[in-house]
Structures are given as structure tokens and as C-alpha cells.
């Protein structure tokens, strides 16, 4: 058992982390909006934690706070992501359809160019030697595990609350929801910002895990991967992101014997699931199938 955990520790932690990123896209999807922004906020949160963890000017603060420095980093990442989420969300969410996806792709790209050019983010090299609270990688499950549980509990409550029902009403029919007096834009921004804040915190937790942070953390491919978790797992269920992340993160490990051709199969799985399992893995368990 110990052996197994040591061997697959990183895999397990990665699944938890990626599932959280997938969930950060589930929030805007609750209102029917497709966003690819999470990876940008993940990258932003990571930079916040990396700068706070390594900047010499903050050394006294780190000494004084000890372990509490990490929750402080999460908080700062959460605030920064939320503010930026509102700034990005308002103009983009006034529009319908594909525009949000395109605006968020543009946002991720701009953030990447900025990170490459700013001195504080370390340019192309990035930031090294981010302090690590745990020695084993599996121990980071103490970061991601509770956050995942908390997020799922929050979603369970949200789906039963008035706010959650408003979100779903927009997903089912935006015009009808608007006609019923739902402030469509405000609700969409609300759902979007919750997702942004979550992605920011996940980024802040991931910087110590990876020990180094650079622009490769925020690529278009990673953004697509997050979206794939949700859609493969099931875009209409809060469990979808977890199921999708578990499948897609472990798939390369399972296909390791195939070496270079495994990414081809990865793409094939993506296509086949879309064609044959349109409601995702979670859809298979849904008794109220349409």
C-alpha cells in the first residue's frame, strides 16, 4: 500500500488538482457559458503564490507567519482572481454564444505575453525554489482534497439554492430567464467569477507542489484539457469534472506502453466520447436520461 501510494502519489494529487480546475469551468457552464479562462487564473494564482513565497521583500512576513503564509497566499490569489474575473467577465458576458470562449482565449494569451515580459514574473525562465510545505507529493492531497470536498459541498448547496436555480434557468433558456426578470448578465458574471476565484486558489496551491512556476503553466493546450475534463465527465453534473479528470489524467499513464502514439489515442477518446457519450461519463449514471 505504501509503495502504491508513493508510486501513484503524484498521479492522485494531479487528479484532484485537475478536477478542481475542471470544476472552475463547471460554474460558468451552470449558466450555459463556455469559458476557457480558468488556466489564466490558475497561472495568475500560481504567480501570486510564487512571488509571495520567494520575493526577498516579504521575507520578514514569511518568518512571522510560518505555515499560515500559505493560506494568506490563497486568499490573495482568490481576491486577485475575483477582481480580474469581474473586469474580464462584464464586457465578455454581455455577449452571447461563442464570444466568451474567444474572449477568454484572448485573455489567457495576453496574460502569457505579460508574464513573459514582466520582471516580477521572471520572464521566460519563471520563478524557482518556491518554498514547499510538504516533502512528499502525496501530502499535497491535504491542500487539494479538502478544497475539492468543500467545492463539491458548496455546489451541492448551490444547486438547491435560489441562486443555483437562476443559473440553471439561464442555461436552459436565456431569453425566457431574462423575460422572467432574471438579471442574466449579473448572474453569468457571478458564476464566472466563482470559477475564476477557484482556479486562482488552485494555482496558488499548485505553485509549491511544482516548486517552479513559469508561462508553460498557462498554455492553450492546458485550457483545452480543463474543458475536456468537464465535457468528458459530463457537463451537467458536478461529478463530471472529477470523473473526467480521473480518466484523462490516468489515461496517459495507462497508455504508457504505447509511447509516442498515446496522444493520438487521447484525441481519439475525446472524439469518441463526444460522439457516443454526449452526456459524458456522469450521463451514464443519470436515470433521468432524455
Amino acid at each position: 500500500m505504501e509503495d502504491l501510494l508513493a508510486r501513484y502519489g503524484f498521479l492522485i494529487v494531479t487528479i484532484l488538482q485537475q478536477a478542481l480546475l475542471g470544476l472552475s469551468l463547471y460554474f460558468p457552464l451552470m449558466t450555459g457559458q463556455l469559458s476557457l479562462a480558468s488556466i489564466g487564473f490558475y497561472s495568475l494564482g500560481g504567480y501570486v503564490a510564487a512571488v509571495m513565497g520567494t520575493h526577498p521583500a516579504l521575507a520578514p512576513l514569511r518568518e512571522a507567519l510560518g505555515f499560515s503564509m500559505y493560506p494568506l497566499e490563497w486568499l490573495v490569489a482568490l481576491l486577485a482572481s475575483s477582481i480580474l474575473g469581474v473586469v474580464l467577465g462584464y464586457p465578455a458576458l454581455r455577449l452571447r454564444g461563442i464570444y466568451l470562449a474567444l474572449a477568454t482565449i484572448a485573455f489567457v494569451q495576453i496574460l502569457g505575453v505579460l508574464a513573459l515580459n514582466m520582471p516580477i514574473t521572471g520572464g521566460a525562465i519563471g520563478i524557482f525554489d518556491i518554498p514547499q510545505p510538504f516533502e512528499s507529493r502525496l501530502a499535497y492531497a491535504w491542500f487539494f482534497g479538502p478544497l475539492l470536498a468543500l467545492t463539491l459541498f458548496f455546489l451541492w448547496r448551490l444547486e438547491r439554492s435560489g441562486t443555483g436555480r437562476l443559473f440553471f434557468s439561464i442555461r436552459e433558456n436565456e431569453l425566457a430567464a431574462g423575460a422572467m426578470g432574471v438579471n442574466v448578465t449579473a448572474r453569468k458574471v457571478q458564476a464566472f467569477v466563482i470559477g475564476c476565484a477557484l482556479a486562482g486558489v488552485v494555482g496558488a496551491m499548485s505553485a509549491p507542489l511544482l516548486n517552479t512556476w513559469n508561462t508553460r503553466q498557462g498554455t492553450f493546450d492546458a485550457a483545452v484539457a480543463c474543458l475536456a475534463y468537464v465535457l468528458i465527465g459530463g457537463a451537467r453534473s458536478k461529478w463530471g469534472a472529477l470523473l473526467g479528470a480521473a480518466l484523462l489524467v490516468s489515461l496517459p499513464e495507462l497508455l504508457r506502453p504505447l509511447k509516442d502514439s498515446r496522444m493520438i489515442l487521447d484525441g481519439l477518446v475525446l472524439v469518441l466520447v463526444c460522439v457516443y457519450m454526449p452526456r459524458g461519463i456522469a450521463g451514464l449514471f443519470d436515470r433521468r436520461r432524455a
Partner: protein, 316 residues
């Protein structure tokens, strides 16, 4: 503002901008017929560049599955460009068969089509990596035959250099644009295509096979994608199987800037972004990659339907 400096940037901007426009038209064609963005278009762009490379140069690199293999023949560049583009068009048709048609037949969510096209893109890009390796390919300098590498013009006291490849980029793009507009506006098939884009149900009632014309649209889209991939590849080299991704994202900015689904808008958007990149002051050159996206944001804020787009009608 010295005239030579202005003309030089104009030449640079127009040549790259016209290729952006041709590439982005591939997205526009599919979008105007299906209302969906084909995310595999960037992979077809990459594929076109690699295919033309193999046909024109006849050699493979060192670390793919086909390492060290040589083709039994070499085509002249113009012919290889055409053949590569036609093969890319066929790849575009395969994308429609694999990623779009099965979902459309079932009336699935548009988001799923987006993801399945991303899946096909993943397959294509990794297939290229598997066969060609991840290394950099660049076309040999004599690929254009005995043409001089650049032509110099004297303008006042300054000089304007037009690289031959820039002239090729602009010339080929212009021919493609003219051909496309002629096809869509003045042929019977083009008229049918416009009918399908306007309303597929009505078009099929009038005896137009929607499936055939959708397939044809994907062929045209792939053709434009593969051709522009080669043009960019000849100009800047093929920096690995992922080199199309950055251009693909930039082309998305182009179509939003011009107005989704509008052909003149896409052309204008491509030229605007190409010129904006060319006229960026040199001290900001490290931000060049962000120009297209910054313009996209500006347009989303000020004129969401794009420069030449019609504002979306609300259907109840």
C-alpha cells in the same frame, strides 16, 4: 514619419495580414454554414505546411517514424503548394466526417462539436509529431527557384526592401481571395452554398444537398488552411507540430475583429491585425503576440458584432 519607414511597414503588414485573412477565411466559411468554430482548422494549417514540405523537398527529418526516408520524386514549389493544399482540403473533409457530421445528425450541443474538433486537432497534430518528429523544419532558401531573395526600392533617401517571399505571400493570398469571392458570388455552386448558409432546411427543400455542400465547405476551408500554412511555413519555418496553434488563435482574433461569419470582415480583420503588428513600435516588439488579442478585446467592448458584422438578431 519618413516615407520609407511607412512603406516598409506597409509591405510587411500587408503581406502577413493577407495570409492571416486567407487562414481565417477557413474558419469563416465553416462558421457561416454551421455556426460552429472548427478548432481543427489550425491542425489542418500545420498539416498543409508539412505536406508541402515533403512534396517540395522530398526528405523527412531525423526523429520521427519516417526518419531518414526520402520521397521518390520532388515537385516544383508551385505544384507542391497546390498539392499540399488539396490534400489539406481532403483532411478538412475528414474532420467534417469524424468530428462534425455524427454530432450534427444527432442534433447535439454545439459545445460538443467544439470539443470533438479539438479532439481531431489533437489526433492530427500528434500524428504529425509521430511521423515527422518534433524538430524544426525549414524550407531551403532556393525553394522559390532562381528568384532574388529581395527587391530593393529607393524611396526618397531611404530604402524599402520587399522580400520575394512577401510578394509571393501577398500575390497568392490575393489570387485565393479573388477566386473565393468569384466562386461564392458568381457560380451556381456558390449560390447554393450561400443558400445552405442562409437556411439549411429551406436549401434542402429547394433540392440542394446540404451534406454535400457542407463537405465542400470543409474542403474549401481545409484548402485555404493548408495553403496559408505553407505560406507561413516558407516565410518563418515550421517550428514543430504545434506551430499552427498560435496562428490558429490569432486567426480567431481576426474573425471576431471582422465580424463572425462575414467574408469581407475577415479580410479586413486580417489586414488590420497584420498592419497593427507591423506598425508596433520596435521598443514594444516583445508584446507583438498580444496585439491581436488586445484588438479583439477592444472590439468586444466597443462593437461586439465586429467591424463589418451585422448585429445578431434575436430569434424567439
Amino acid at each position: 514619419m519618413p516615407l520609407a519607414w511607412f512603406l516598409q511597414n506597409l509591405v510587411n503588414g500587408l503581406s502577413i495580414g493577407s495570409v492571416y485573412a486567407v487562414f481565417a477565411l477557413g474558419y469563416t466559411l465553416v462558421f457561416s454554414v454551421l455556426g460552429i468554430l472548427n478548432f481543427a482548422h489550425a491542425a489542418v494549417f500545420t498539416l498543409g505546411a508539412y505536406l508541402t514540405y515533403v512534396l517540395a523537398v522530398g526528405e523527412f527529418g531525423l526523429n520521427g517514424l519516417l526518419a531518414g526516408a526520402t520521397m521518390p520524386f520532388k515537385l516544383p514549389f508551385a505544384l507542391a503548394l497546390l498539392a499540399g493544399a488539396v490534400l489539406s482540403g481532403l483532411a478538412g473533409m475528414a474532420v467534417e466526417y469524424l468530428a462534425f457530421r455524427p454530432l450534427r445528425k444527432r442534433g447535439a450541443d454545439a459545445l460538443l462539436a467544439l470539443v470533438s474538433s479539438l479532439g481531431v486537432a489533437l489526433i492530427l497534430v500528434n500524428l504529425i509529431q509521430y511521423l515527422f518528429g518534433a524538430e524544426i523544419y525549414s524550407f531551403p532558401p532556393d525553394v522559390l527557384g532562381s528568384l532574388p531573395p529581395a527587391i530593393l526600392f529607393h524611396v526618397g533617401e531611404g530604402m524599402v526592401a520587399m522580400r520575394t517571399i512577401q510578394a509571393v505571400l501577398f500575390g497568392v493570398s490575393l489570387l485565393l481571395l479573388i477566386g473565393l469571392v468569384w466562386f461564392i458570388q458568381f457560380t451556381k455552386q456558390g449560390k447554393a452554398l450561400r443558400a445552405v448558409a442562409e437556411n439549411p432546411d429551406t436549401a434542402s427543400l429547394l433540392g440542394i444537398s446540404v451534406d454535400t455542400f457542407t463537405l465542400g465547405t470543409f474542403f474549401l476551408s481545409g484548402l485555404l488552411g493548408g495553403m496559408s500554412g505553407t505560406l507561413i511555413g516558407v516565410s518563418f519555418g515550421l517550428s514543430g507540430p504545434y506551430f499552427g496553434v498560435a496562428y490558429g488563435l490569432k486567426a480567431l482574433a481576426v474573425i471576431v475583429l471582422g465580424g463572425l461569419g462575414s467574408i469581407p470582415g475577415t479580410v479586413l480583420g486580417g489586414l488590420v491585425i497584420g498592419l497593427a503588428e507591423a506598425f508596433l513600435p520596435p521598443e514594444l516588439s516583445s508584446y507583438k503576440e498580444a496585439v491581436a488579442y488586445a484588438l479583439l478585446f477592444a472590439v468586444l467592448l466597443a462593437r461586439p458584432q465586429g467591424l463589418l458584422g451585422k448585429s445578431a438578431e434575436e430569434k424567439v
